[in-house]
């Protein structure tokens, strides 16, 4: 019996040895949290140069303000002000009871967010009976009244594979409109799977490299991303619609489409957050995310912070949408009907 009690005590000791084996959680004080944020941010963030950020100057400027941090409210104000300097769609801050903070001013202020309206498209542009929607998978597809395939997705994910099959089944249509407006991104490799069904020859889309250490020059080698044809190709005209809320993986999808010779981009420039991202946790339970890659399009340019430009610039106006008109979509249909 004594042996059993001794054994149980030993097990209890093993189960409670966390203080010896683990490092203590960092101190939960606004100034300490701010310092942790700065250290980690500069260890992981990649596109300082693309976004023309003078990080040493910024650090010094904000360090002065950080000296008197004494409350979570002050910390929130300082962190969000610093994040806003980057205007990066991938920099976000999640805190209890507040709206998720977007460092990107277009997202944060929702500038022009209402200039895209799915209901207008459903009601006025898609042929009766052709509409299919799946809110869980975030897509809407149908045939326009003029016989053009129309697809909109809220994000880039597994649903793109099914949409590729739908395009092939409707190969007789006049052309394809792929609407990436208000697409918040996701996993761009699904976009490649679809674009590879449309491609006829191998094409370089972009190259990217990722932070692999805390130093300024700690990056992986450049990785080329190609479209490799996986089907018979698609030779009909394709119009891709983009706007300032086309973000991240949706921008990479835009790049993939842009390499195809039968694609025209219509709308306004994308958000300009072309990197991939990761997230971190602060010791007070707040979460933030940031960009960890540098991305160069096939033309040799980076569109981080600039936005990928349309071939044809068209922007909806509030009055158009109020009248049931989507000028961007109408331009796309007109281009395919040419």
């Amino acid at each position: 019996m004594k042996k059993i009690i001794f054994g149980l005590l030993l097990l209890g000791t093993l189960a409670s040895c966390q203080d010896i084996l683990f490092e203590p959680d960092p101190q939960n004080h606004p100034q300490v949290i701010y310092e942790q944020f700065i250290t980690e941010f500069e260890s992981f963030y990649a596109p300082f140069e693309e976004r023309a950020i003078d990080w040493p100057e910024l650090k010094i400027r904000y360090a002065n303000q950080a000296q008197n941090l004494d409350s979570e409210e002050e910390l929130y104000s300082l962190l969000t002000a610093l994040m806003a300097e980057f205007d990066d769609g991938h920099i976000q801050l999640t805190t209890p009871g507040r709206e998720v903070y977007y460092a990107n001013s277009t997202y944060r202020e929702k500038t022009g967010y209402d200039l895209f309206n799915k209901e207008v498209i459903r009601t006025n542009y898609l042929a009766p009976g052709s509409l299919k929607e799946n809110s869980d998978e975030g897509y809407m597809r149908g045939m326009t009244n003029e016989g053009v395939l129309y697809i909109h997705t809220d994000f880039v994910g597994a649903q793109w594979e099914h949409l590729g099959q739908w395009i092939r089944k409707n190969i007789a249509a006049k052309g394809l409109i792929f609407d990436l407006r208000h697409n918040t991104g996701g996993d761009f490799t699904y976009a490649f799977l679809l674009a590879e069904q449309l491609a006829e020859e191998k094409r370089l889309v972009f190259t990217s490299r990722t932070k692999n250490g805390p130093g300024t020059h700690d990056y992986t080698s450049w990785h080329p991303w190609y479209l490799v044809p996986k089907g018979t190709g698609y030779t009909k005209p394709i119009v891709v619609l983009i706007d300032a809320f086309t973000l991240s993986a949706a921008e990479r999808a835009t790049m993939a489409f842009a390499t195809l010779p039968n694609v025209t981009l219509v709308g306004e420039k994308t958000n300009g957050s072309t990197s991939t991202m990761m997230a971190r946790e602060l010791q007070n339970g707040w979460y933030y995310s940031l960009s960890t890659q540098q991305v160069t399009f096939a033309d040799g340019n980076s569109y981080e912070g600039k936005g990928f430009p349309p071939d044809v610039l068209v922007q909806n106006q509030e009055a158009d949408l109020a009248a049931g008109k989507d000028r961007v979509l109408e331009k796309a249909i007109a281009l395919i009907n040419q």
Binding site: G7, L8, A15, L21, F22, Q92, T94, T95, E99, T292
Partner: protein, 282 residues
């Protein structure tokens, strides 16, 4: 803390079982054993790739299946174990979604751990009560980590396959009771783990087929050979078994695992399991 209380509850339960007198003698002529275990598992992980905070959690959704075959002095052991853990560094909170301002729960963090092992041992000492065996073990660990960061979730992984020595001791407390303990430690392992920035091009390319097996193969391929000076992984087990009949026995088992690795950033993890098992002898 609820998790600690639950763990000690199981500890006491196992202790009580240890003190229960046995009813039947074990037929030692049977050479094969198949054991199914279930219990409370506790996991602690501090992985600086993902957070500076210590994450802790429990699993009630778990199972372990062990097979043992003995012929003369040779012992073959095969085991498979799986568990899903609800993890956290603190309480989950609610935040307001962008644009809709709808109040929603932060995404929780969930870990899934899968273990496989095969061991071959030889009996090196056989006394009246004590039997000692030693041999080698091939063990495989797969960790899939779904880290919740408020409105976002990111995937991380650790894959290991290692070989090393294993030691096992069996002590007969009487005709119906026995204690068993084992210890193993891989000395040479193949290890693959999430990269520094979690989603680098290599990782993205590895999972671009969107096939689980292909992705797993690709991730393994990107691993490297590490020795015990880089990866410290220890496994230990203590069990008490009670014969219930000629064919059946019950067991209370405590198992633990320690894992430490330093690249690309430090990770330390400890797993404690307190299980009840039922064994069929044939």
């Amino acid at each position: 803390m609820r998790s600690v209380r639950l763990f000690y509850f199981f500890l006491v339960l196992a202790g009580s079982l240890c003190c229960t007198p046995g009813a039947f003698a074990q037929d030692l002529n049977h050479k094969n054993e198949l054991q199914l275990q279930w219990g409370l598992r506790q996991y602690m992980r501090q992985d600086f790739l993902f957070s500076p905070m210590l994450y802790q959690g429990n699993s009630l959704l778990n199972a372990r299946l062990n097979y043992r075959r003995q012929r003369n002095s040779s012992i073959h052991l095969f085991g498979i174990s799986a568990g899903q853990y609800n993890m956290g560094s603190g309480p989950l909170y609610r935040y307001l979604e962008w644009r809709t301002l709808e109040e929603v729960d932060a995404i929780p963090t969930t870990f899934v751990l899968l273990d496989l092992h095969y061991a071959f041992l030889k009996t090196i000492h056989k006394g009246n009560k004590l039997t000692l065996s030693a041999g080698g073990i091939l063990e495989n660990g797969t960790g899939a980590f779904f880290w919740g960061y408020g409105a976002q979730s990111f995937f991380g992984y650790t894959l290991t396959t290692g070989i090393g020595p294993v030691l096992q001791a069996r002590y007969a407390l009487g005709a119906k009771h026995a204690l068993e303990g084992s210890f193993s430690m891989p000395v040479l392992s193949w290890l693959a783990r999430s990269p520094y920035a979690v989603n680098d091009d290599e990782f993205i390319a590895n999972q671009s087929s969107h096939s689980t097996l292909t992705t797993l193969g690709n991730l393994y391929k990107d691993g490297s050979l590490v020795t015990i000076d880089k990866l410290q992984k220890l496994n230990w087990m203590l069990s008490y078994s009670l014969s219930l009949s000629e064919r059946w026995s019950a067991a209370a088992v405590y198992q633990g695992e320690y894992f430490r690795f330093s690249a690309p950033r430090k990770v330390v993890a400890i797993r404690n399991e307190l299980s009840l098992g039922i064994t069929y002898h044939f």
